[in-house]
Amino acid sequence: MTNDHRDAMGRPLVAITGAGIVTSLGGDKTENWAALTAGQSGIRRIGRFPTDGLRTGFAATVDFLSDGASPAPVLTIELAKHAADEAIGEAMIGVHGRFPGPLFLATPPAELEWPQRKALYNAGRHSGLTGYRRLVEAARNGDWDEMNSLFQFASVGEHLAQQFGTRGIPVSVSTACASGATAIQLGVEAIRRGEADAALCVGTDASVQIEALIRFSLLSALSTRNDQPEHASRPFSKDRDGFVMGEGAAALVLESYAAAKARGARVLGFVRGCGERADNYHRTRSKPDASAIVGAIANAIGDACIPATQIDYVNAHGTSTPENDKMEYLALKQVLGDHLAVTPVSSSKSMIGHTLSAAGAIEAVISLLTIRNGMLPPTMNYDVADPEIPLDVVPNTARPARVDMVLSNSFGFGGQNAALVLGAP
């Protein structure tokens, strides 16, 4: 069965024919790549709500697509549309508004925010009721169509399906901070099953609002380096003290290689393999032996039908929390063995923060750009080597390198781990 349209297991090869990205560093691939390779930081003090008194007052927000006063889903949708527009435009696939395949979407769970609750509470002020009874009565007696269309769990997917005319139910997935990678994996699997010739895979997240910030802060997960926000995210550095929330979106147009070639599309790269493994140790921590993330990484490399020695570069999950970076190193060491010593590993989160549900998709696009440009994006703020993590983290300066095969890692709260292997055309 092996031919040039199929992989070593006889499955359809999955090509990437379009990619789009929005982060705090810019609105497209060109802007992001220039900033990422220049070591620029998108992390800054939060301007959209007052933060005095909070333990963390900074994030990598995207401030150029909305007025900052809109609720999170508005920006979540805008980010996703922006990235998908770039990806579909590059792929030149379908006719406008009719994407010829399904949508797989990584997006945060929907939840009303305080301005919405307050609006409902105020609308119910003549009811004589208190608490949620008052909110529910206000909901019943008012016209909240716009709020309703934004705060259902299907909302972001529905808006995207309307805009891009994707086929079937928009599939929204959450594997916490691995969601973006899972969305890509869903697209790969659908194409391998022969159900679709093309898939639109999107990860989007705009979670920098007050309650989300406080919640992560209460988990002691966030950096508190308030005096130097742009230096706060320091993956693998011994003085790392937590992650930095980030916003953004990325989109990939995936196609079966056969379909892409048949329509004369330009192939940017391939998704060679996907792997996952769930952890059952703890709600926020990895098994001490790292076996679950080892499993995810090994499964991705196995799924790509390559030896681990063929990995040229690792785009790390690299959150900058003390726990993650140590466990990720342990896992990489177990899977890559001696090959790790000659494999550069860098974390884009040092510049764009942790984009949560979107991270796996954003970092897949960065991995693709790494292959296409022959340049390794650096790990910024790498000031103090951690003797427990002896890695070539591409410290503080981008570096040219030939890269044919990238491993991109994503690990989530709840023990949901995913890894992707992306390859050159």
């Binding site: 769970p109 169509d145 079937g168 139910i169 929204s172 997935v173 406080i214 059952n280 709260f413």
Partner: protein, 401 residues
Amino acid sequence: MGDDGRDVLITGVGLVSSIGRDTAEHVAHLSNGGGYTVDELRFAPYCVHPLLALDFAGQIPKKSDLKQMEAWQRIGVYAAGLALTDAGIAGDAELLQRTHLIVAAGSGERDIGVDCDVLDKLSQTDDSTTLAKQVLPSALRPTLFLAQLSNMLAGNISIVHGVTASSRTFMGEESAGLAAVENAFRRIAAGQIDIAIVGGALNAEREDLLLGYELGHNLWMGHYAPVWDRAQGGGGFIPGGMGAFLVLEARAHAEARGVQPYARIADVATARCDRADGATQRALAELYGALRSKPIGPLTVLSGASGAAPVTDEEIAFIDSLPSQGAEPIVRAFGSTLGHGVEAQFPTGLALAALACRHSLTPKETGNAEIERPFSGSTAHALVTCVGHWRGEGLALVGAA
């Protein structure tokens, strides 16, 4: 499946609701026409079907685990445990490591007390963010955040039951259940995986949940009515507490384990239409037309109709068209008895289909004699329907294994 796929069997069922704490209680209730349980007062003017009291420790033995979860997660973890036990997987570490987990989820309970306290203080000032900032850091509990995240039902199933091959959570109200079941079915049929547990849970007894649904005026108000009879009153659904998980397995895998299957899932199909007039009926008809292994003759239709208008009437019109495809539909709206499970609705329909097939059972009618006619025969084929109250349509065809 045809030549291009593998048979997908249901080999384990875990089901809890307002009418039963396990599969046996559901079978007894549905065979006898045991009616419904509804609470019309607690959340008036809305009704809910309250979940029967469960001894959660039966499936979640560690107190430390129970303390980390609110009701939604407990219901789901409990039902998942029942399904794993039923399939003979529970406690089999080697098999659990090869079992894939697929969950349809909304999110967990907010702390209503904290929210009300904050709202009360917000109403006394205009500076909402400052106040929220002063109140929230002391009021929010880190553990509550983890109880609220959509993917943490799956996280807790992995931790409590040891299911670890992979873990995926689908979101989007009813579409979440459709996507979850379809994903499990297609991966097994295509040979991508051999065994999975799939399902969802709803805690209906939550004001924050009712608020989310009532923003779109989706809830039924006043006295209980069967789902088919709600259109004249404007339509609406009655949330029902439920948890439904299924173990799905490739035939060869099930046979190698020597496990007795409930039924075979012949096909699953889903769609999204724009809900223009007639679009839902057309979408369902197209989905049905494309299903594999459609039976000729009696077909038990286990309708997941919510009671939302006008889509519930469009579903009736679709069912009325089934004879043109050779089927003789025997319709039962399980939502009239169990309520609407939103994310859990489609998995619940499949669980009931599995029970109907194994026990040669056609559930008793649940109201509206024009639509639900008596039938004394057994179920050989079941069509499970699920039409989202806002978006998402899907069908599953289930038959003897």
